[in-house]
Symmetry: C2
Subunit: 404 residues, 2 copies
């Protein structure tokens, strides 16, 4: 059972609901009579070694609820990966503050941090309970059906592409939107979640789970454009060639080989611009535009899936409950139990840590440039009901009275 002080911290990239997990864990831990204090470390494990701690026992529940509704890690984050010395320093601070349980909210890397700390603690004979609480907009933690943060980011991407598709229908042309996700394509695939009618975009979706062929890409785009007079495309930032080389660096090199020198192409807008340039160069389509969605996807204020918020809160609370009752280290996971319902479970840290899940083949269309209905069934409950229903002009065409 939990005793003494409890420490909570947040690692890795922020999400829209990571503070729900923080608040779920804080409130659950505060409710346990044998817990003395609930502390927070500023900026993840870095806050521990710098002894930069706050006393969350003093935070009002009203304030905590406001924090829960605020995007991005309220305690601050870090991407530090502790080594043995780093862990020694962690243990000194934990001992000084009578901290016996450590909750770390984060993605793949943070689950690995929790594993490292747990393993080092065991090796050093430090009595420490370590529990990892999942989050990542990439949705790429193994065992988990999905991860907190993904549903809200997916809602952002789906809403963005739904709007972009209306925009593109009003002023037709080609549009390329580049979405986050280096290894797993879930977030890019979510671009299709708000499609309603057969001609709704995105019409093409390129995922890191499939090899990206620039020539095939241009052919695909031209085919859609010839059919619909327009084309909206979702591309994962992580698309790569058959050797696994990211298209961004590959195409940038091609530009350099063409004697363009060391132009900075690593900026975040570069991939969309490169693909737009490719379409312009290889087709006669005039209006070609591109955006790289960037950081808005994970932090936009007010774009939250209620399913995601509820589960992020729940898994934070469940982490404390599992740690207290089962009294073991582990990583919390979310399992789907119905259509739609979910439950929380705890697995060994080693089962999650530093592993990456990618999209199931059943979610990707055979051609490799779209998703399947199975993916829509998977993703829509995670996005929830917050995407407004759209309308379209159904009025009959007026018969022409003049010759052209």
């Amino acid at each position: 059972m939990l005793e003494g002080n409890v420490l909570i911290a947040q690692g890795g990239g922020p999400t829209a609901v990571i503070n729900q997990s923080l608040v779920g864990a804080v409130l659950a831990a505060r409710a346990i009579p044998t817990v003395s204090k609930v502390l927070g470390a500023r900026h993840g494990v870095r806050g521990i070694i710098e002894e930069d701690l706050v006393d969350l026992t003093m935070e009002t529940e009203t304030d905590l609820n406001a924090i829960a509704g605020t995007p991005c890690s309220a305690l601050g984050s870090t991407r530090d990966k502790p080594d043995a010395d780093y862990c020694k320093r962690i243990f000194q601070v934990l001992k000084a503050h009578d901290i016996r349980t450590f909750f770390y909210i984060g993605g793949n890397d943070s689950s690995d941090v929790a594993r490292i700390v747990a393993d080092e603690a065991a090796a050093e004979g430090v009595a420490l309970r370590c529990v990892h609480i999942p989050k990542t907009i990439d949705n790429d933690l193994v065992i988990n059906d999905h991860t907190p943060g993904f549903g809200s980011a997916a809602k952002f991407v789906a809403s963005a592409f739904a709007g972009i598709d209306h925009d593109n229908r009003a002023l037709p042309g080609v549009y390329v939107g580049v979405v986050m996700g280096r290894h797993a394509g879930f977030l890019t695939a979510a671009a299709a979640a708000a499609r309603v009618e057969p001609d709704d975009g995105p019409h093409l979706i390129y995922l890191p789970e499939r090899t990206f062929d620039a020539a095939k890409f241009v052919t695909d785009v031209k085919a859609v454009y010839d059919r619909l007079g327009r084309c909206v495309i979702a591309v994962s930032e992580g698309v790569h060639d058959a050797d696994g080389t990211p298209i961004l660096s590959k195409m940038s090199e091609a530009v350099e080989t063409d004697a363009h020198g060391n132009v900075q192409l690593s900026g975040t807008g570069a991939l969309a611009d490169l693909l737009v340039g490719e379409i312009k160069a290889k087709t006669d389509i005039k209006r070609v535009r591109g955006d790289t969605f960037g950081y808005l996807q994970r932090s936009f204020l007010g774009c939250v899936s209620e399913t995601d918020a509820t589960e992020a809160r729940g898994v934070g609370e469940a982490a404390v409950r599992f740690a207290h009752i089962q009294d073991r280290n582990g990583s919390m996971v979310i399992r789907r139990t119905g259509d739609y319902a979910s439950t929380y479970d705890m697995v060994d840290l080693s089962e999650i840590a530093a592993k990456t899940k990618v999209m199931d083949d059943a979610f990707i269309a055979n051609e490799g440039n779209d998703i399947t209905p199975a993916f829509l069934s998977y993703v829509r409950p995670l996005i929830g009901n917050g995407i407004p229903r759209v309308g379209r002009i159904r009025a009959p065409q007026v018969a022409k009275k003049l010759s052209a």
Copy 2:
């Protein structure tokens, strides 16, 4: 008074609420007993010359309300600018369909289209009533206190920067967000609308109303970074040097002068990438990121200001009422009458057409790198109440027990 058939069309860039104006006008026109039919032209004036018309008299009110809540021009848009021959073709089609009143929903260019059509009609002796209904996310129509579409786009930009600021606080560094607006800085300035506490970003705002000095920019960024350990910056895509040359083309030229050849830097992500490169080159700040917000700003599904939606609907309805009762050509305008209340009026087309409003000096801080409280008072009612209240950890720091 309105008689015969009425034609409505939409021009220029889409907004989140342009269909509210369409539906407001359609419903008001349908309610006038002397109006036979209400027609819509697909893709603006181009739909007229192509005789591509739909009968909006057949559209159900239920469907119209769904369309009103859908972003982007439901009838489609165009950027065509008619000349005398183009107008002759317009008049042929109008005559063939007994269209005696033409409503054109759009921004500066579309108001100019309405003026051209009205002037040509007068010169040709065509009996035609022409009324322009305003919209533009740029908020740059003269006489108007503000324009439909701006409030919702401002809400998007404010929500984006509020989220980005939390993100940047969690993982500190420098962030550059490039916002739409080539000549007027209103939308970029709206980045500040959700600031709450003194250290909230954006910490620097660069507008096209002021000359952009790249060296001063770097100095500003460094000063904020030294003070706060981070810096969030909003930059208008239209920032330019003292000669009016856009920074994007200026800095691209510099890159080319450095023998980098004809690299495509005109892509939408280029300005953010260039400014990020400038900061990286001139400071020792390690984490520097940039995004170009792109088309999401004007079309994102579900990011609508209720003030904006109500006014867009109202001004569309008012346009029909003014045309019917006052029986004259004109451009609808929105005037602010209280804090906050607004009213609609009609002015001559020539007073609006092709003119550009920029930000008042009173809205821009003396240093030229921020906005004033007066701008916040101006913009916040237009964004409305839809920005969620955020929370921040207030818990007391835990006293250190170890020496560093």
